[in-house]
Amino acid sequence: MNKSKEHLQNFEVDKLTNSIENIVTGDSFPTDVTFLTNKDLKTITKKNGWSFNWKAELTQNERDVYKLTIVNNPTIIQGLVSLTIKPDYVFLNLLESAPFNIGQNKVYAGVPGNLVAFACKLSFGRGGDGFVSFQAKTKLIDHYVKTLGAMHAGGHLMVIDTLAAQKLIDKYFKS
């Protein structure tokens, strides 16, 4: 971990509480967003169904990698996000739901939106005014516009602005 990451360990991200919803029961579970650690990587493997190389992601100093877990169940990772803090926005490098949260048999709903809302919150806290950017597959651009309130900035670039970011935070984070 680099120095800025060590500094961030004291940042109160673990006190931010939001929730994901069990598909079968409809119950909501409060969640934590905290830094991914090397210890976590043992289970985050392609063999276990994860698509991206999170070990490589964790070695890149300019990137911060966070995990989403259910409160009081910190060992089961529900989703991961890698982001870079830019001077005027936060850039999402990677975002992935846990293998058991993908497709028709997923266990929990709301993981991706939850992690995007977290990125918005981080952007407000780091001088980005809530702005978050990422690249979307062509077929998902409309979906992100409708569900996240994102704006299409040309090509594959998507931008979540201050207003949309605030809506996402209001939706996911208790005050």
Partner: protein, 57 residues
């Protein structure tokens, strides 16, 4: 509390490629412009609010 439900048949993973210098520039310009638009909106809304308060007095 609302949840954003992802379509069941779509995998919503995000995998951004590193931005080219041109994309970085375009993005910064886009964000700068959008921030200015939002500031204008805020300013206009504040003026409207002050105007209505003044009219009430």
């Amino acid at each position: 509390m609302g949840l954003i439900r992802e379509p069941e048949d779509i995998n919503l993973n995000i995998q951004s490629k590193p931005l080219t210098p041109e994309e970085e520039e375009r993005l910064s310009q886009f964000i700068k412009q959008r921030k200015q638009e939002i500031e204008k909106k805020k300013h206009f809304a504040q003026q409207k609010l002050y105007g209505s308060r003044a009219a009430q007095r």
